[in-house]
């Protein structure tokens, strides 16, 4: 056991390197806590039960898209009989989840969901408001 020092030092180094992902995240303050999504304040009940929405919201939106674009059916009837306009912008984002960054994005980022491309085309009403405000500014100046 003449190489005791080298062996133990090597072991410590090996353990350090292999646990780096864990220690790095601990040092950075990242924990395994789920993201804190901001729930809508002005409504309590989503268009479907929360458990369903959590797992299958993308499927619901795909069905909505198919229904509106291809079949021309634009009204969605929930299980408890309420009716909604099938629209990501006007219903989901405008009526309930007014803060997309703290609801949709926060969870998508946490889950590393790369690109639901919805927002590449569909407009976040907040973004539209700021865009219009910035576009209107230069016109206001004489």
């Amino acid at each position: 056991m003449r190489d005791q020092g080298i062996i133990y030092a090597g072991l410590v180094l090996f353990l350090g390197v292999i646990t780096l992902p864990i220690t790095y995240n601990l040092a950075a303050g990242n924990t395994s806590r789920p993201p804190e999504v901001k729930l809508p304040v002005n409504s309590k009940q989503c268009v479907a039960p929360v458990e369903y929405m959590r797992v299958s919201h993308m499927r619901l939106l795909l069905n909505w898209r198919e229904s509106v674009v291809r079949n021309g059916v634009r009204t969605y009837r929930t299980l408890d009989g309420r009716t909604f306009d099938m629209s990501l912008t006007r219903t989901c984002l405008e009526q309930c989840h007014t803060n997309k960054a703290e609801f949709c994005d926060r969870c998508h980022n946490y889950m590393a969901v790369k690109g639901p491309y919805c927002m590449d085309c569909h407009v976040d009403p907040k973004l539209a408001a700021t865009a219009v405000a910035s576009a209107a500014k230069p016109e206001a100046q004489p």
Binding site: V69, G72, R74, T75, C121, L127
Partner: protein, 256 residues
């Protein structure tokens, strides 16, 4: 109980198959019925548009309809003509009606440019070539687009004899001055065109261009309905359609 013979078994099996097949056929026929339109929507058997060129030219350089359409549908404005995206625009007479332009008709052609858009043909070439069915014809004649499904192959752009389709060579978002949150934009790599404002029709509103025209030069309605306004104007006045010899049956009519 009587013992089932082989013959009896085959007979019963055959009868069951016939019953199942009959039910299948009846079932699919029932399901094929179109869903009812939303309440308050404008509906038609066949939508068509009539542009009264004399009225359209009343106010020279008027672009109210184009502005309204492009604002409503988040149509981007590119300065580079090669990247141009347009749903509704004006074109010189000789380009719109090349078969009706002669060397002696120049004076008449100088009357001004002609408003053009998607013709919502009865036999649309774009629909035939689309490999993903991203564009299709609705029962009311509107040549619709599903931008979700468009893969940007541009077959439809090549097929359309009227140049009614535009391709997004770049991300259109930065080129939209006033973003309308009620309508989606498109992305790079997607083809777009006029949809006869189907989203407005569903809400009971007339197309944006029809509503915006200060001279009431655009008439929109059901061409299959003999009592409609479009039929009334077409009965009374001479009209032209673009490139009728191609057999696409355009549903935009021009009153000369």
């Amino acid at each position: 109980m009587k013992k089932m013979t082989r013959k009896g078994f085959l007979k019963a099996g055959g009868a069951a198959l016939v019953v199942i097949a009959g039910k299948r056929i009846a079932g699919t026929e029932g399901a094929a019925a179109a869903p009812p339109p939303p309440p308050g929507a404008l509906t038609a058997k066949r939508w068509a548009m009539v542009v009264d060129l004399a009225r359209c030219r009343e106010k020279e350089g008027c672009t109210a309809c184009i502005a309204a359409c492009h604002r409503e549908h988040n149509v981007p404005q590119f300065n580079d003509r090669a990247h141009e995206v347009k749903w509704l625009w004006k074109e010189p007479y000789a380009n719109v009606f090349p078969e009706n332009a002669a060397q002696y008709t120049e004076a008449a052609e100088r009357g001004g440019p002609v408003l053009v858009t998607c013709n919502h043909c009865a036999s649309p070439a774009c629909v035939r070539v689309c490999p993903t069915q991203a564009t299709w014809q609705r029962e009311d004649g509107i040549v619709m687009m599903d931008w979700h499904r468009c893969i940007g192959c541009r077959y439809c752009v090549a097929a359309c004899p009227y140049g009614s389709r535009s391709f997004n060579w770049e991300d259109p978002r930065p080129h939209i001055s006033h973003l309308n949150a009620n309508y989606p934009t498109r992305t790079k790599g997607v083809v777009e065109k006029c949809t006869f404002c189907e989203e407005r029709l569903a809400k009971g509103q007339l197309p944006a261009c029809v509503e915006a025209c200060p001279a009431k030069a655009i008439v929109f309605g059901d061409i299959e309905d003999p009592k409609s306004e479009v039929r009334a104007v077409l009965r009374e006045r001479f009209s032209l359609r673009r490139k009728p010899e191609l057999g696409t049956q355009p549903h935009i009519f021009y009153l000369i």
